[in-house]
């Protein structure tokens, strides 16, 4: 698709433009260095999963060991549970966060500037709170002795569950926490897109007698769609990665909750934190990236089939 656009541009503006623009290139140099230094050079690390690491020999001279480093992960009995949790929870996160963010953005769009400032700030603050701090907030709400919720339940004469021991509540708790933390940030992106929209569209629609709901459905949503798809595809690329901070700190590493809260990242961390085997941990990292990469390609392909303009590449 890119080539389709480029060709006429080149033809019309002549050859000169195709030459190196050294001024612009100069500006790009720091960024290029960053890109090459942090994204391309470390790629050589991809050999680590296939090496039997020997500290004395270093990365390059350690012996090759084929797929041995991958075995431990696929051999372990919990692979299915943690993979299911990782993908399942992430899919829920993506769908729910996107939906709620769009709704919040639409709500903000209908508000006066002053109110927007207030709401935007309130929504945005949690994004800057680390999961470690958030875990203590949740603990203050749920801890069996002093927690706010158990105490309220007790006052109301209801039976009080020990939240850190009962897996059934945790899918909901995790989703709520995720929304709390991420909706503000995503909503801001959607809101910024909406603000950039030409107000003439709305005015024309209003004159033609379109209701508020109709305006949202036929003007705002289609306008947001490319951004929603873009955010969605980017999130899907990370679907095999779990937010380690969240899954490790929120449930306070409570063993009884693992069937619900354990994800690939926390699981591998627990398997290897004592052994510190770099080959094995990078093997899982490679596996996660490879699957993520494939998923992005597939999603992009599907999106492209539906509507070529929405596709990422």
């Amino acid at each position: 698709m890119a080539s389709k656009i480029k060709k006429p541009v080149l033809a019309s503006k002549g050859r000169k433009k195709n030459r190196m623009n050294w001024g612009l290139f100069l500006l790009a140099i720091p960024g290029l260095f960053f890109l090459v230094g942090y994204y391309y050079i470390p790629l050589f690390g991809l050999i680590i999963p296939f090496k039997k690491m020997d500290v004395a020999k270093g990365i390059f001279r350690s012996d090759w060991c084929g797929f041995d480093n991958f075995k431990f992960f696929f051999q372990s009995p919990d692979v299915w549970t943690v993979t299911r949790n990782t993908i399942g929870l992430n899919v829920l996160f993506i769908v729910i966060t996107l939906t709620v963010s769009v709704l919040v953005a639409l709500g903000l769009y209908e508000m006066s500037k002053k109110k927007v400032k207030l709401f935007q700030t309130c929504f945005f603050v949690p994004y800057f709170i680390s999961w470690v701090v958030a875990s203590y907030i949740v603990y203050a709400l749920l801890s069996p002795d002093l927690g706010v919720i158990p105490n309220i339940l007790e006052k109301l004469g209801m039976s009080v569950p020990n939240f850190y021991n009962e897996p059934k509540y945790w899918t909901a708790i995790l989703i709520l926490s995720y929304i709390w933390k991420h909706v503000g940030y995503n909503a801001l992106i959607f809101y910024a897109t909406l603000v950039g929209m030409d107000s003439a569209l709305h005015e024309a629609a209003a004159i033609d007698g379109a209701s508020k709901f109709q305006r949202i459905k036929y003007i705002c949503l289609p306008y947001l769609m490319p951004i929603i798809v873009l955010m969605g595809v980017l999130m899907i690329g990370k679907i095999f990665y779990a937010d380690f901070g969240m899954f490790y700190f929120l449930p306070r590493n409570s063993g009884t909750l693992y069937p619900v809260t354990d994800v690939i990242d926390t699981y591998v961390f627990r398997m290897l934190r004592v052994m510190g085997n770099i080959g094995m941990s990078s093997a899982v990292g490679l596996y996660q990236s490879a699957v993520g990469f494939i998923l992005v390609l597939i999603t992009n392909m599907i999106v492209k089939k539906r509507n070529e303009d929405y596709a990422l590449f």
Binding site: A2, S3, V36, Y40, I41, L43, F44, M53, D54, V55, A56, K57, G58, I59, F60, R61, K71, F72, Q75, S76, P77, D78, Y139, S143, P144, D145, N162, Y164, N165, R252, N253, S254, G255, T256, Y258, D262, Y267, R270, M271, L272, R273, V274, M275, G276, N277, I278, M280, F313
Partner: protein, 520 residues
């Protein structure tokens, strides 16, 4: 297609970049390697004599330690040590101590070791920054020759049986700190409650004997959870009381029963009724409010809660002379009573409970060895490391005992990590004969029948990884009584089996049989 081409070109560029890197690092490591061998070859003969007259250039010695974290005034102590070594031994080093806290030490060292960072000495043990794992990774230098050439005094200061205990595949990789070696599990109880409820401590032989006492306390003080438990778990503190000795890590399946005579490796989770009894007891106590419900999520060994009086009793792994002062401070200065829950027992991992190893990446292993030699044999140096500078970081009382002050910027409190504890000054409140007593316990303790056996885990790494994950899921809730052992324990053992616990135990048995055949 276009995209593919682009990717291919970029990929090629990446490979090229990487290959130039390969070239670089290869040659540099080769040079490094050559240098090392040259130095070690030339040490004992030429270098030492020339150093008597000319201290030569300053050699940095980086030493990684655990503890309560970095000390504010560590630099002053390092300078004092550098000066002392130069004046006394004509040894020109620049000591750099890098201390981190216990909880993050293992992870930090794994980073340091995996990244191939250049350092000289690090502290290692069977229970933190695992000695055997690191040796298997080839992270440490063999010390046999270095000990003979550069640290003869250190080599002689310890009985050969102690050195034997540190050998892995026949080689020494770490210098053990002389201290108390055997373990003896104990419970420590707030004396006020013992007196108030007239507990006869002589009648308490095992944990369950305390149940009535705890129930009485709980009945009168509903806010108190008498028995302390935390996310650190209890197994490492009670394994001798429960009756087993671990072969490779206190939670990993594969133990020897302490009271047996055979060399059979057991799976403690299925083969030891006493462990199930312990789980049952904890579950019962949790239901009765003797242990807090969310113990598994409590950090810091529950010490803040013990200090605050929320718990009145705690268990610990190693009773040793002089521990009274430590426990009393854990209990916020209140008087405490000790009850032993096991005999004094020298397990096979006792000898590797605190070692200092020299890194494979060290540029000056012989200087590091000389330094360790002095740390373990020179009292002045050792006390500088333990307590800092006299008059600045600590003062001596009338009896010549150390009074440390946390506000003075240096009080790491890791004497047993640094070196030979018998060379140390006494702290205020420690009895004069504390080291005599310690030596006596070291000599008199029941010795494990597998003392000196070390498990090589390389063949079962995959299984250990999977088993570790299962243990993390189930062991702690069971130990803290959060779940019912009748239903959960069998689920746990099934999962262990699926993860490969039988293979681990079989491998342990094979290695142990070979060891028995060679040594008994």
């Amino acid at each position: 297609m276009k995209l593919l081409k682009k990717v291919a070109v970029l990929g090629l560029a990446g490979v090229l970049a990487a290959s130039t890197m390969i070239g670089c690092s290869k040659s540099s490591t080769e040079n490094g390697g050559n240098k090392e061998t040259n130095v070690t070859n030339g040490t004992s003969s030429g270098d030492t004599s020339s150093k008597e007259t000319d201290p030569g250039e300053t050699i940095p010695i980086r030493w990684y330690l655990a503890g309560s974290g970095p000390q504010a005034d560590v630099e002053a102590v390092q300078k004092e040590i550098d000066k002392y070594l130069l004046d006394t031994y004509n040894m020109n080093i620049d000591l750099q101590i890098i201390a981190s806290d216990y909880a993050s030490y293992t992870q930090k060292m794994q980073m340091v070791i995996s990244s191939g960072e250049e350092y000289d000495i690090c502290w290692t043990a069977s229970w933190n920054n695992n000695y055997y794992d690191n040796v298997n990774k080839n992270a440490f230098m063999e010390l046999d020759e270095l000990l003979v050439s550069d640290a003869p005094e250190l080599l002689e200061s310890m009985d050969t049986s102690i050195w034997e205990g540190t050998r892995v595949n026949g080689k020494i990789y770490g210098v053990p700190s002389q201290q108390i070696f055997p373990k003896q599990n104990y419970i420590v109880i707030d004396k006020a409650y013992v007196d108030k409820y007239k507990l006869d401590t002589n009648k308490v032989k095992k944990l369950s004997d305390l149940e009535d006492f705890f129930l009485q306390v709980k009945a009168d003080n509903p806010d108190i959870y008498p028995f302390a438990a935390s996310s650190n778990g209890l197994m490492g503190k009670l394994n001798l009381a429960i009756g087993y000795e671990p072969i490779a890590g206190v939670k990993l399946p594969g133990v020897i029963a302490t009271d047996g005579t055979d060399y059979k490796v057991l799976n403690q989770y299925t083969d030891l009724p006493s462990l199930k009894e312990f789980y049952d007891l904890m579950y019962k106590w949790q239901k009765e409010g003797l242990v807090r419900q969310d113990a598994a999520t409590v950090s810091d060994n529950a010490v803040p809660d013990i200090k605050a009086g929320k718990h009145i009793a705690a268990v610990n792994a190693t009773f040793k002379p002089g521990i009274e002062a430590t426990e009393q401070s854990n209990f916020g200065g209140r008087e405490v009573v000790f009850i032993m829950l096991s005999d004094s027992y020298m397990a096979t991992d006792s000898l590797v409970s605190s070692l200092n190893a020299i890194s494979r990446t060290s540029k000056h292993p012989e200087v590091a060895m000389k330094f360790l030699n002095l740390v373990n044999t020179d009292k002045t140096l050792y006390n500088l490391l333990c307590f800092g500078v006299e008059g600045v970081h600590y003062t001596l009382n009338d009896e010549g005992k150390v009074i440390s002050d946390n506000n003075k910027g240096y009080n790491p409190n890791i004497d047993w990590m640094l070196g030979n504890q018998f060379n140390g000054l006494l702290r205020e409140g420690q009895a004069d004969d504390v080291w005599e007593e310690t030596k006596e316990i070291n000599a008199s303790a029941t010795k494990s029948r597998v003392l000196g056996f070390a498990f090589d885990s390389t063949k079962v790494t995959n299984e250990i990884a999977a088993v570790n994950a299962a243990i993390d899921q189930y062991a702690l809730p069971l130990e803290t009584g959060a779940v019912d052992p009748d239903t959960v324990l069998s689920e746990f053992t099934d999962k262990l089996k699926a993860a490969g616990s039988d293979k681990i135990i079989a491998e342990m048995q094979t290695q142990l049989d070979a060891w028995v055949a060679a040594n008994k």
